[in-house]
């Protein structure tokens, strides 16, 4: 982030140009339908939040440098260049006003994958020095300390001790040659240690051999959110190195949306090679343990409950069935929101938005979309599988004075787990 200049930004935009991006820009006819798929537009009514509009600087680079007619227009002075002022003005739209949820990409009639372009366009913004302080600081902490929230290993160690005392189970750390290496998000370590406890109990019961690495326990990746491949690569490399050092067969992505995108989908492309291990999302693993009979549950939640699909895990991650299979195992009154699975509405805090302090008011405003979804259902419990969604929704529900507890799905499975008594 040091030495960021417009020139670097322009070069980053150029590096991000490819055939999909060019075909998307070539195809947009400004029909405006993406606006109606975006909670930042539907909840504010401000057309500046129309998804395709957030890409105007990147579109200009495409038009002026990658089309013949655009080049001619530029030579004749008929186009408006990308300037520092433009990027400064658009910074709020592309960061505060977009969670990379990808809902717009599902509705565009010409098929534009708009969120794919936003992710790429952020590379240009951050290289030019236009990224919000909140995500910049989180990225800095992630690179220097190892966690966007500044959580160091001693803090994890303390939580491990608590969990071990509560459960009487040992949390394996730095064990070589086991099958699975579990990652955690800082939020899970600090706010939701129930997750780690759930893992310990479920894995013990299912006979899963696993470990946590003291060198790379952090799953979140601020580089993905700010749009810096350099930072993202550094953070992914730490996980890859630790996993390869411990010779594990699998790395488990936790209940965190963008962590899954980072380690599962972007990681190999960032480091430039496939992994020597596989990445599974915790819900995929639990679903597999369920299907193979390695875990059994007893009793069912009788509350009327629904599931909030984390965008990066479901719509952009492809983990669609596992949460349903798991919920049906432990809930007798599970109902779907009207828009669910790959059409679910974002919590409003993904893609780094929850790390941007100045975006708080906007984030709480657009949370109205989630409350409208919940109003239709009249549920007593909201289940999800992303610590960030969970925290954002807890804050949002409090703001709108809705008393609906938000629960992590992994913990819910652990609560109903049938455990052998020793």
């Amino acid at each position: 982030m040091s030495g960021a200049t417009l020139e670097r930004g322009m070069n980053a935009f150029r590096e991000q140009m490819n055939a999909p991006v060019a075909s998307f820009f070539s195809s947009c006819v400004n029909c405006g339908m993406c606006a109606e798929a975006c909670l930042f537009y539907t909840e504010t009514g401000d057309p500046k939040y129309t998804p395709i509009n957030k890409l105007e600087p990147f579109r200009r680079v495409w038009e002026q440098e990658y089309t013949l007619f655009g080049k001619i227009k530029s030579m004749l002075g008929l186009t408006q260049p990308v300037t520092d002022e433009l990027l400064a003005e658009w910074e709020e739209l592309i960061y505060d006003g977009c969670t990379l949820c990808g809902r717009c990409s599902m509705v565009c009639p010409v098929g534009n994958d708009i969120s794919y372009m936003i992710r790429r366009a952020r590379e240009g913004f951050v290289a030019a020095g236009y990224a919000p302080d909140g995500i910049k600081n989180a990225s800095r902490r992630a690179v220097t300390i190892g966690s966007p929230m500044g959580v160091k290993y001693p803090a994890l160690q303390a939580q491990i001790k608590h969990v071990e005392a509560d459960t009487g189970l040992q949390i394996p750390v730095d064990v070589e040659g086991v099958d699975y290496m579990a990652l955690l998000s800082s939020m899970e370590i600090m706010n939701f240690p129930e997750y780690m406890e759930a893992l310990a109990r479920i894995f013990k019961q299912a006979g899963v051999s696993w470990t946590i690495s003291s060198e790379a326990f952090e799953a979140t990746n601020s580089g993905i959110q700010i749009g810096s491949s350099d930072i993202a690569r550094e953070l992914v490399s730490r996980v890859v190195n630790a996993a390869e050092k411990l010779k594990v067969k699998y790395v488990i992505s936790p209940e965190c949306g963008h962590a899954y995108t980072a380690i599962r989908w972007e990681g190999p492309n960032l480091i430039g090679r496939p992994y020597n291990f596989k990445v599974v999302h915790i819900l995929e693993l639990l679903d597999e343990l369920r299907a193979t009979g390695r875990i059994k549950t007893e009793g069912k939640e009788e509350d009327r409950m629904t599931f909030h699909d984390p965008c990066q895990i479901v719509r952009k991650g492809g983990v669609l069935e596992s949460p349903r299979n798991l919920l049906n195992m432990v809930a007798s009154n599970f109902v779907e929101m009207q828009d669910h699975r790959e059409m679910n509405w974002c919590c409003g805090g993904g893609g780094g938005v929850s790390a941007i302090e100045r975006a708080e008011e906007l984030r709480l405003k657009v949370f109205k979309r989630k409350t409208s979804q919940l109003d239709d259902l009249n549920v007593e419990t909201l289940v999800t599988a992303c610590a960030n969604c969970r925290l954002v929704m807890e804050e949002g529900l409090e703001e709108y004075k809705l008393e609906i507890p938000v629960v992590g799905l992994t913990e819910m499975i652990a609560e109903h787990l049938v455990e052998d008594k020793e």
Binding site: A22, S23, S26, G32, Y66, F69, R273
Partner: protein, 220 residues
């Protein structure tokens, strides 16, 4: 080009050839501009395939997602009506089919001209309504620039002049027919340099969208 007949002869002859050459070369350049950029191989282990979901999205995006139908009914319905109307008039009006037959040697059955007349009237009204919507809908008005209005105009004019020519509302007939052909030539010339190109590039866009989602196990 002193008489309407001279004008008609020019637009049917050299004018049309020039427009067609610009259109064909322009479209080829534009498609190459997109495709030569390529994309890097995705190194992440795939959950699903690309080709099938890509092709599926190419077709399924023709139908609106249910939420869009509810939230943008006018854009969706208007979009269908005028696109279909335009294509029906272009490809199913008998004199047009004869023109295709004389240039490329392929013919197909057309529709009765009174039906084409009705379709073109509906299409013209819909295009006017779409323009009205673009000028008034907060999002469309906000997004729209000169190119959006230019592309609307060059699409509207062939429909309008075709309608006028069919009903002989401008005299002499060679003049109005000449204007109709000229308006088509303007459309052909403007086409490759504007967002009218979506008529070709949407195939790539939808495919890439469907393929990239399909790889992750999602049907987009």
């Amino acid at each position: 080009m002193s008489t309407p007949t001279d004008f008609l002869l020019w637009v049917r002859g050299p004018g049309f050839d020039i427009a067609l050459v610009i259109f064909v070369i322009g479209v080829i350049i534009r498609l190459l501009e997109v495709l030569v950029l390529g994309r890097k191989a995705d190194l992440a282990e795939a959950r699903g395939t690309e080709m099938g979901p890509g092709i599926r999205t190419l077709f399924t995006r023709t139908l609106p997602e249910s939420g869009s139908m509810k939230r943008s009914p006018f854009t969706v319905a208007g979009g269908y009506i005028w696109h279909i109307g335009f294509l029906v008039c272009l490809f199913l009006f008998v004199p047009h089919i004869e023109l295709f037959n004389s240039t490329i040697g392929i013919k197909w059955p057309g529709l009765p001209s009174n039906l084409i007349d009705a379709v073109s009237a509906v299409t013209l009204v819909t295009l006017l309504a779409m323009l009205f919507s673009r000028l008034n809908h907060p999002v469309k008005r906000f997004l729209s620039g000169p190119e959006d209005y230019l592309t609307w105009l060059v699409t509207f004019l062939p429909m309008l002049t075709g309608y006028l020519a069919f009903h002989r509302m401008i005299n002499p007939y060679p003049l109005v027919l000449g204007l109709h052909i000229l308006s088509v030539e303007v459309l052909l010339v403007v086409f490759p340099f504007t967002k009218l190109m979506h008529a070709f590039t949407f195939v790539f866009a939808r495919w890439y969208n469907g393929a990239m989602a399909g790889r992750r196990g999602v049907q987009s």
